[in-house]
């Protein structure tokens, strides 16, 4: 059963440094396709570091690798991903007349990818 969680897109040091190498280069691709997840949430879903998970929002879905974060860094139910092409696929295009698509706090369904 997929679980509903809240996805936050944002910047990280590695995203920033790998961006300078190039957005099509390996490190940036890896950084932007890894989601950080509360360690207890991962255990409950039967996930360990580097396992694949499917994130599905109202706008689209992506498959990314997951990485555990302690509860004091990332509360249960919260996910963090570095901005990039994959996080963009989960963003809806409506901006509510502001010009800004919702890029943080996106509701997503999370489920392990087993195949």
């Amino acid at each position: 059963m997929p679980e509903t969680m809240t996805l936050i897109g944002g910047r990280s040091s590695r995203q920033g440094t790998s961006l300078c190498v190039g957005k099509l280069a390996g490190e940036y691709v890896e950084v932007a396709s890894t989601v950080e997840m509360n360690a207890e949430d991962m255990a409950r879903l039967g996930l360990k570091d580097n396992d694949r998970v499917r994130l599905r929002s109202a706008a689209g879905e992506v498959i990314v690798r997951c990485k555990a974060r302690a509860a004091k860094e990332l509360p249960s139910g919260l996910l963090f991903i570095a901005y990039g092409p994959l996080s963009s696929r989960l963003m809806a295009s409506d901006t509510a007349g502001s010009g800004m698509p919702i890029s943080k706090n996106i509701e997503v369904q999370v489920e392990p990818v087993t195949e």
């Binding site: 897109g9 957005k23 990039g84 007349g97 010009g99 890029s103 706090n105």
Partner: protein, 444 residues
């Protein structure tokens, strides 16, 4: 490293909006690389190290290698033919290049927008509604004894904001630096920035507005229901403590990031924070500063404002500028499939925009100016390699506090600057159109 090195002192890093202008660069001339960037943060070191002169095609037109001249001709033809073109990006290039982009938009009666619209655009809307109590980073460095960082993670996105301008920096009225300042961080997760804070407020997602409004009430001496904790995750006692400190400080600052602008509420969140700063000026001196991401996104706001009267999301199709976020902002124009050509300067909407917008971008002729290949350039009709500003291109940029900074170069580049390419595109478009395109109604 070869023996043929030279030092460029007081160069400027344009990776982020801090625009630190105290870089001492060691240049390996033979290797065409910067080998050392003294004073740079981790992001600045990567910026200088990875922007050496690469052996790339001068341009690609429809995927085949072309000269810059051929690419400029094709770009001008696309823009002259288009009925509703958009010019977008501009936050990682010089003010001189931004000026040329505005002139092209004016000439072709196009739409002009910058990455501000998907950054602090909502704050720009809030500024117009609420106003901005502002300061330079130098003033903050020398005076601020209370700092609140809200919805941002400068430790990873703007590392030297803490050390050069705010938290640990020693200043005229805060001679002991960190010891003389109280620092609070507000975020939905405990980021590495929390390590510098005396107080960390972990807010539930999408509850920033409620916390800001509660602080406004407390600052004004109004009663707040203790149930605020259940709603926001922050106890009333914590909010009362922070409100009291904010009122008692000598000089307070609210730095705010995209934790406010990119989430539900958008400009209302930024507006609530700006209103809180205004309220606090009844008791002490308080300022609010958006923490800006790209090296010259603040310059883009300034240039587009002084040229058109508006900071972003400007439409010139009637022969005069109109500003309307949601209508003339690029994510919306692309998402609705309205524009029929795009000129993208130093930005990558092909990676950063919602999928529907990217799908439309891939269906129209796109011109990209960028030093490196991007997701957008991969699908562009015309991709022109340009030199990197602040490394191979001199010019002017604006720091996040609207202070202009002059760039100096370290590496000569074989590639033209964005300004040069845009100036030549403008000249060719003028030839093709015979001057500014007249608005449709008047042309008829």
């Amino acid at each position: 490293m070869s023996d043929n090195t030279h030092i460029v002192r007081d160069a400027t890093c344009t990776f982020c909006g801090c625009v630190c202008d105290d870089m001492h660069l060691t240049v390996d001339v033979a290797a065409n690389k910067i080998t050392k960037a003294e004073n740079a943060c981790v992001l600045g070191r990567a910026w200088f190290k990875e922007h050496g002169i690469e052996n790339r095609p001068f341009a690609l037109v429809a995927g085949r290698e072309a000269s810059t001249e051929e690419a400029i001709e094709e770009a001008a033809q696309i823009l002259a033919r288009a009925r509703f073109p958009v010019i977008y990006g501009l936050s990682d290039t010089t003010c001189e290049a931004q000026r040329q982009a505005v002139a092209i938009a004016d000439m072709i009666g196009g739409n002009l927008d910058t990455t501000t619209s998907v950054c602090h655009g909502p704050s720009g809307i809030a500024f117009q509604g609420v106003g901005e109590s502002t300061a330079t980073l130098g003033e903050i460095r020398n005076r601020a004894d209370l700092l609140v960082f809200w919805g941002g993670n400068p430790a990873e996105s703007h590392p030297r904001l803490f050390t050069r301008y705010a938290v640990t920096a020693k200043g005229m009225y805060v001679p002991n630096g960190r010891k003389d300042r109280f620092v609070a961080l507000v975020d939905v997760r405990r980021t590495p920035s929390a390590a510098v804070a005396d107080l960390f407020l972990q807010v539930k997602p999408q509850r920033d507005f409620e916390v800001l409004w509660a602080l406004r009430a407390l600052v004004k001496g109004r009663r707040v229901d203790p149930a605020i904790e259940k709603l926001t995750g922050v106890s009333l006692a914590t909010l009362e403590d922070l409100a009291g400190r904010m009122k008692r400080c000598r000089y307070g600052v609210l730095f705010f990031g995209m934790g406010l602008t990119m989430t539900r509420g958008r400009h209302f969140n930024s507006g609530a924070l700006l209103a809180l700063a205004t309220d606090l000026n009844e008791y002490t001196h308080f300022v609010a500063k958006p923490v800006r991401g790209h090296g010259n996104v603040t310059g883009a706001d300034n240039v587009v404002s002084w040229q058109t009267g508006f900071p972003f999301g400007v439409n010139l199709s009637r022969g005069y500028p109109r500003f309307n976020p949601g209508e003339f902002t690029t994510a919306d124009l692309l998402g609705r499939g309205e524009v029929d050509a795009a000129l993208i300067v130093a930005a990558d909407p092909g990676a950063n925009f919602p999928q529907r917008a990217i799908d439309h971008l891939r269906s129209i002729p796109v011109i990209v100016l960028d030093p490196k290949p991007t997701h957008t350039s991969q699908h562009a009709r015309v991709a022109i390699t340009t030199a990197t500003y602040g490394i191979s291109v001199a010019g002017t940029v604006y720091r996040m506090d609207d202070v202009s900074v002059t760039l100096r170069t370290a590496l000569p580049s074989p590639y033209p600057s964005d300004e040069e390419v845009l100036t030549r595109i403008k000249a060719r478009v003028r030839e093709l159109l015979g001057g500014n395109r007249l608005p449709a109604a008047r042309a008829a």
